[in-house]
């Protein structure tokens, strides 16, 4: 593992009176570097922070935004909570399922897209919304989705 990660983790650890508090920020840093928090990565985080591995494992599995399983290059998360539901978010999810040829929760065989449903993303006035790797796409329609997917595929092709 790059020494860069160790330095970054040490830097955030300085913000807290104890090292356990730095586990969450450290997991974010590790995830940015490795995309997926495998057992090996979790061990390394525990080692850098000098905390029991179980503490690290516990947080990596409790919080939804930490990925111990592989996710696609583009993680699409469609809000299906009330404000989006009222504006037909289910149709948006169904359209994505048919365009990507996968069901919610799955990843395309080429590893490009993972499709998830999400709880409220805090953009209810522009419903229906989704995030792609945490960038917002708002006021969605089937046509907007087709454009977004095309742009994402194009971005990888380049």
């Amino acid at each position: 593992m790059a020494t860069g990660l160790r330095d970054k983790i040490e830097e955030v650890a300085g913000r807290y009176p104890n090292r356990r508090s730095a586990i969450m920020p450290a997991l974010y840093l590790a995830q940015a570097e490795h995309a997926q928090l495998s057992g090996e990565v979790l061990l390394e985080v525990a080692d850098i922070l000098d905390v029991p591995e179980i503490w690290v494992y516990e947080l990596a599995t409790f919080y939804d935004m930490f990925h111990t399983e592989p996710v696609g290059t583009f993680h699409i998360q469609v809000c299906t909570n009330i404000s989006c539901l009222l504006l037909e978010a289910e149709g948006i999810v169904a359209h994505l399922e048919s365009r990507l040829g996968i069901e919610r929760g799955d990843t395309t065989p080429d590893g490009l897209f993972t499709l998830s449903t999400a709880e409220c993303l805090g953009s209810c006035d522009t419903a229906p919304v989704m995030q792609v790797n945490y960038a917002f796409h708002e006021n969605l329609s089937e046509r907007r989705i087709d454009e977004i997917l095309e742009n994402l595929r194009g971005a990888v092709g380049e």
Binding site: P25, M65, C124
Partner: protein
């Protein structure tokens, strides 16, 4: 016309930078506080303003601060609750994206009042722009001497950091939030001891919502009397209302506390979309029980909403028109709470799971009349027996749907299908 207070900078280009904030009078309240107020005088000012917490519970902010032990030997913490995950809510996000210094200035003022030298801003992880803007604003504030050592030449020191959440609604509950900062799974803790006495790392800790803190510079600048004069005296101030759902002009509206819900939805929000008719409104995020159309003349403040068995909560106002299926909405809300239950106590963990199963079959038209009594019994055993307010809120929201729209549930059973889908 009500002049905006909290959103007055939001439309200025680059309002999030410190230059724009200072040009609009930013950080002058902080200078006033540090040079002219003792911590006790500041607490008294906030008490006099009648400011009540915007995180949901409406607890008087000055009173909360007053509970913090005065012992200077004790380390103290201030935490800003920016976890904003209550469905239907997007106000704190707008403050952080458009005007993060307003929150930061409010936090420095709050930290001075309680004697905290360290503060954390707990921002939900999905809010990447809020995190980016807040981090950048913190750097600017340090550089300008509004944070760090000897702030504005006084002997007050304060360090402030961002702690990012990672996708768990329960982190918004204050004791769970503290657990999360301490690097543990976010599960609520028994109160008492209350965080003001024994909070982060066992030290006295005040937790306040972003919008609560953002009110502080204005109270200092314009006085307690001015603040108390906006809206109902016991529940006053400028208020951010998040309007969404079946409404013509969804958006974030800043208006006085206590305006009527009907005025908010019909005048400001332009009424229901495409000429439909309103069926019900959820006034304060999905934890707040829904109000049928006939109840819309209620005033949007803590006490008036509590009087009709619902709450202002996060002021996430969600409009349902006549095409909305209440059974489906109730099912989705209960699914949300079931998904976000931390699993610590049985009534919430098991009860919600059971309720979801029943609601799914009711929505599909496979329910029986006994199911409705069963749901009511479940709500009764969850409410009041849950460890934290997540379980209570879930049961309360579901009971209201059953109470006001029982006929819709019955139609699903009798028709054997959903009449709306």
């Amino acid at each position: 016309m009500f002049d905006k207070v909290l959103l007055k900078n939001a439309e200025i280009p680059n309002a999030h930078g410190i230059g724009a904030y200072e040009a609009a009078g930013g950080y002058r309240a902080l200078a006033t506080v540090l040079h002219e107020y003792s911590p006790d005088e500041l607490i008294q000012l906030v008490k006099d303003s009648n400011l009540r917490g915007r995180g949901g519970a409406g607890f008087p902010t000055g009173v909360k601060w007053g509970f913090v032990p005065k012992d200077p030997a004790l380390e103290k913490y201030l935490c800003c609750n920016a976890d904003e995950s209550e469905p239907g809510t997007f106000k704190d996000r707008v403050i952080m994206e458009k005007d993060p210094h307003q929150m930061i200035e409010g936090m420095v003022i709050g930290a001075y009042a309680i004697g905290a030298q360290k503060a954390y801003i707990y921002i939900r992880g999905e809010y990447v722009l809020s995190i980016e803007r807040t981090e950048a604003a913190l750097k600017e504030a340090y550089r300008k001497g509004y944070l760090g050592e000897r702030i504005l030449g006084t002997d007050f020191n304060l360090e402030m950091f961002v702690h990012c959440g990672a996708g768990a609604y329960i982190c918004g509950e204050e004791t769970a939030l503290l657990e999360s900062v301490e690097g543990r799974r976010a599960q609520p803790k028994l109160k008492p001891p209350f965080p003001v006495v024994e909070g982060l790392y066992g030290c006295p800790t005040v937790i306040n919502n972003v919008e609560t803190l953002a009110c502080l510079p204005h109270i200092v600048q314009r006085g307690a009397e001015w603040f108390r004069g906006i809206g109902p005296e016991r529940s006053p101030g400028p208020k951010l209302y998040c309007l969404s759902g079946h409404v013509r002009k969804p958006g974030l509206y800043e208006l006085p506390m206590g305006i009527s819900l009907r005025e908010l939805v019909e005048d400001h929000g332009g009424g229901p979309r495409s000429g439909g008719r309103i069926k019900a409104v959820i006034p304060g995020g999905v934890s707040a029980p829904m109000i049928p159309e006939s109840g819309l003349d209620v005033a949007m403040d803590f006490d008036s909403l509590a009087a009709i068995d619902t709450m202002l909560g996060s002021a996430g106002v969600i409009v349902l028109d006549e095409t909305a299926c209440v059974v489906r909405v109730a099912k989705r809300i209960t699914e949300f709470f079931n998904h976000e239950s931390c699993g610590k106590c049985t009534p919430c963990r098991e009860g919600l799971d059971w309720a979801v199963k029943i609601l799914r079959r009711l929505e599909d038209g496979r329910g029986k009349h006994e199911d409705l009594d069963q749901l009511e019994r479940l709500c009764g055993s969850i409410f009041g027996n849950s460890f934290c307010a997540l379980g209570d809120g879930a049961a309360w929201a579901l009971s209201a749907a059953l109470k006001h729209f029982r006929d819709e549930f019955v139609r699903h059973i009798e028709d054997g299908r959903c009449p709306f889908h």
